[in-house]
């Protein structure tokens, strides 16, 4: 049994060990995505926590024929991050930090550098995927 299947079965049976395995195998990846999307440790943790809670409560809705477990979770995380980013508190803090002032300069530079770091860490990956990843992670998330 693959680790994904094991995790799914444990969570469906209400076994806490499923959560622990899920955290061990996926939390760093999910947290990293949340952090890059929200650019705030506190909000990224909040998004991660919300994601795990939704995974726990909605595991029966996961359909392995439609997507991998990771894809399903990343979509939950993305929606959670969007919800957080639309809160008034987040909007206020965002303005305070003046992220918008940098949208055409440093964020672009940062995103290109980020993209290059990502490419370098994924040697051997076809270009079509790295381009897609740049696009997905850096340009789809509303700023």
């Amino acid at each position: 049994m693959t680790i994904d299947l094991q995790i799914i079965e444990l969570i469906k049976s209400g076994n806490e060990q499923g959560l622990r395995l899920l955290y061990k195998h996926y939390a760093p990846a999910l947290h990293g995505v949340a952090l890059r999307q929200l650019r705030n440790e506190m909000y990224a943790e909040e998004a991660l926590q919300n994601t795990f809670m939704k995974i726990w409560s909605k595991i029966d809705q996961y359909d392995a024929t439609k997507s991998t477990l990771y894809t399903w979770m990343i979509n939950i995380l993305r929606n959670s991050s969007i919800d957080i980013s639309r809160t008034q508190k987040f909007q206020v803090e965002k303005k305070t930090i003046s992220i918008d002032n940098n949208v055409h300069s440093s964020s672009f530079t940062e995103s290109r550098e980020f993209s290059m770091d990502a490419k370098s860490s994924l040697e051997g990956m076809e270009d079509k995927y790295s381009i897609v990843l740049d696009y997905l992670y850096l340009w789809l998330f509303p700023k």
Binding site: G14, N15, R20, H31, E41, W56, S57, T71, A118, L136
Partner: protein
């Protein structure tokens, strides 16, 4: 659309990230069913997403995992905790102690039970022994009563056996009932004999060799039944080797009684 047109359209990527309308999703799902190559592409993209995110993963700070688990526990639905409850305040902290106390109580109760059970078994064994002795005494008593009844039967004659020289201290009563053909000897005093010797009763008749009858030791008995020989003129008692003899040892004739 051809496969290449689908690949270059970005539809797969949008589908994976759940960014399509319902109708667009159904369109892509149709393509996936139609083109197995697209299904492979889809899996490749998903794996690439996962690999990318894992490579750029950032470990959450310490404590985040516990916060998540605590939040989900509060939601409920955890049926199987993966580790023992944390020690803290309240019932959770007392539970190990209560469990230990209960276990200790059970051990003490079990020990007491088996201990008392052992005593009960011993008492039951002692009672059984006592009851057996009582039954035995009762039997002896009944036998004695029966013997006394018989020797006191009007048809029974009580005779005093005459001791022979050398055995003057011998004192025996001989009860004979010719009607019921029963004999009894009441032992008052007998000479001491060796462990390998017994007393033997003989029937003496005219013109006939002595007839060997009952043997007895006389231990703890006072009235004992002995053989009756019809036509006996004299009964005699000798000391013989254990098991009796076929001919009397006249050197150890202790008493006689004419009937």
């Amino acid at each position: 659309m051809t496969i290449e047109e689908i690949r270059s359209s970005g539809l797969l990527e949008y589908y994976i990230l759940d960014l399509l309308s319902e109708s667009e999703k159904q369109e892509v799902e149709g393509y996936l069913q139609e083109f197995p190559e697209l299904r492979k592409d889809k899996i490749d993209i998903e794996n690439a997403l996962h690999k990318y995110a894992s490579a750029m993963g950032i470990e959450p700070r310490q404590g985040v995992e516990q916060n998540i688990l605590d939040s989900i526990r509060q939601m409920g639905g955890i049926k199987t905790p993966s580790e023992p409850p944390s020690t803290g305040t309240g019932l959770g902290a007392l539970l190990p102690w209560l469990t230990g106390l209960l276990a200790l109580s059970l051990i003490i109760a079990a020990y007491s039970f088996f201990n008392l059970r052992g005593e009960l078994n011993q008492m039951q064994a002692n009672y059984a022994d006592a009851q057996a002795k009582c039954d035995s005494l009762k039997d002896e008593q009944n036998q004695t009563i029966e013997i006394l009844r018989k020797v006191n039967n009007p048809d029974s004659r009580k005779l005093i056996m005459s001791p022979t020289p050398g055995f003057q201290e011998t004192e025996l009563f001989f009860y004979i009932n010719e009607n019921s053909q029963e004999n009894y000897i009441q032992i008052r005093k007998l000479p001491l004999i060796a462990d390998n010797e017994v007393f033997q009763l003989w029937s003496l008749k005219d013109g006939v060799n002595p007839i060997p009858l009952s043997t007895f030791t006389g231990d703890g008995t006072h009235i004992i039944p002995v053989d009756f020989e019809n036509g006996t003129g004299t009964y005699a008692i000798t000391i013989e080797p254990k098991g009796g003899s076929l001919t009397p040892n006249l050197t150890k004739l202790i008493c006689t009684v004419g009937v």
